[in-house]
């Protein structure tokens, strides 16, 4: 049910994820942020088992920060992606993490990149990627409308098209999405797409 997708544009990479935290038939919350800011120029969008998702992405985040502390320079996106794959691969035959990851980053030398990392530690560098049931819709939309070197406006338009498609065609479609972007100025939240807002609690 969790929808995560992303694409690479002209000098930036964008990822979008749904924001519902679901247990069986119950929606615990609909503003759960599943895209973690790994470091200044990297985003990790994760989907899968909620405990594993939070634990694993935090583990990666802290190790990426440790590398920077020890060595004085940050990891490249490719290095971070390979490190993540290594951790998933090592754990695979002992205590596997059920987390699917899209790692988006911007490097000064190589520009923006997006890495698809499966829960069984399959790593592949892609221009567009998606996980979950939503991928059946978002990948097809991106196959149709994506071209290399898209501007931010074109990319957001495509992301919105994908969200519209997921909302209208997926039976248990998540109502809200968060969109984050990473470019030369860093990784940051771009927008939310909310169709259901949590009811504000009346003060006692």
């Amino acid at each position: 049910m969790e929808c995560v997708f992303g694409l690479v544009g002209n000098g930036f990479a964008i990822v979008a994820a749904d924001t519902s935290a679901v247990h069986s038939i119950l929606v615990h919350k609909s503003n759960e942020d599943k895209i973690m800011i790994l470091d200044s120029h990297k985003l990790i969008a994760a989907s899968g088992e909620s405990g594993d998702r939070v634990q694993f992405t935090e583990y990666i985040q802290k190790n990426v920060a440790l590398y920077q502390f020890r060595n004085g320079i940050p990891l490249t996106t490719a290095a971070a992606a390979n490190f993540t794959r290594g951790e998933l691969a090592t754990a695979l035959r002992k205590n596997p993490y059920f987390v699917n990851i899209l790692l988006a980053g911007y490097d000064k030398e190589t520009g923006p990149s997006l890495y698809y990392i499966d829960y069984i530690a399959t790593l592949h560098k892609v221009d567009k990627g998606a996980f979950g049931y939503g991928s059946y819709f978002s990948l097809s939309m991106m196959d149709r409308h994506y071209h290399s070197g898209m501007t931010v406006e074109e990319a957001i338009d495509l992301v919105d098209k994908c969200i519209m498609e997921i909302r209208s065609r997926l039976v248990v479609a998540p109502p809200n999405f968060v969109i984050k972007i990473v470019d030369k100025d860093g990784a940051r939240e771009y927008a939310w797409r909310e169709s259901v807002k949590d009811v504000a609690v009346a003060s006692a």
């Binding site: 691969a89 698809y116 499966d118 069984i120 530690a121 399959t122 790593l123 592949h124 990627g129 991928s135």
Partner: protein, 204 residues
């Protein structure tokens, strides 16, 4: 769900006159869904030795990293490249180490041995070697590949003719297999040069 058919793959290696060709498809899938159409299945170990890994992509990546590491260590100690026969033994040993929890991969090894004699072999996921004088195949399209290669193979083909033969055998076989395809990647290796070519076939 068959583990060897999770990602989909097709690999073939063929012997020519003082040369060999190794070819693979380019699809990376997750069962019925195609994730990427530019996946590299064949890796260079050294200028005269190529390794193709079919089967589960995560294990192929892990195995490749381990083998590259072992070969680099060998190069440091012995101050020379590994012979293809030696490398095949190494792969076989590494696979049998995991006899009761194997890597779900079928490797295809192709190289030029002493006196530029081409060497090809394949093995199953637990390291049972199959040497062949003419061709070896692996992957989800292996049955079609056996048929295509058997009928198209001729002894002592020159590099150009070998390229044509391998390409036709690969493309016609993957067209009958839904889990492999989306083009082809062919390496033709002679004692003097390595020619890498991308094939465009039925893109489905």
């Amino acid at each position: 769900m068959q583990i060897f058919e999770y990602n989909g793959s097709a690999l073939v290696a063929m012997v020519g006159k003082n040369c060999f060709a190794i070819a693979s498809d380019r699809r990376l899938g997750v069962q019925l869904q195609t994730i990427a159409t530019d996946f590299q299945r064949i890796s260079k170990i050294h200028d005269r030795l190529f390794l193709g890994l079919s089967g589960l992509a995560t294990d192929a990546q892990t195995l490749y990293q381990r083998l590259l590491f072992r070969h680099k260590l060998y190069q440091l100690r012995e101050e020379r490249d590994m012979k293809p026969e030696t490398f095949a033994n190494l792969v076989s040993a590494l696979l049998y180490e995991k006899r009761f929890g194997p890597y779900f991969c079928q490797p295809v090894i192709a190289g030029l041995g002493d006196e530029d004699k081409p060497f090809i072999c394949t093995m199953d996921s637990i390291g049972a070697k199959e040497l062949a004088k003419d061709f070896v195949v692996a992957g989800t399209a292996s049955e079609s590949l056996y048929g295509a290669c058997e009928s198209m193979f001729k002894e002592d083909m020159e590099p150009e003719e070998l390229f044509e033969t391998v390409s036709q055998a690969l493309l016609s076989s993957v067209d009958r297999d839904c889990l492999s395809g989306w083009g082809g990647h062919v390496y033709v290796v002679t004692p003097t040069e390595v020619k890498e070519r991308i094939l465009k076939g039925r893109m489905d």
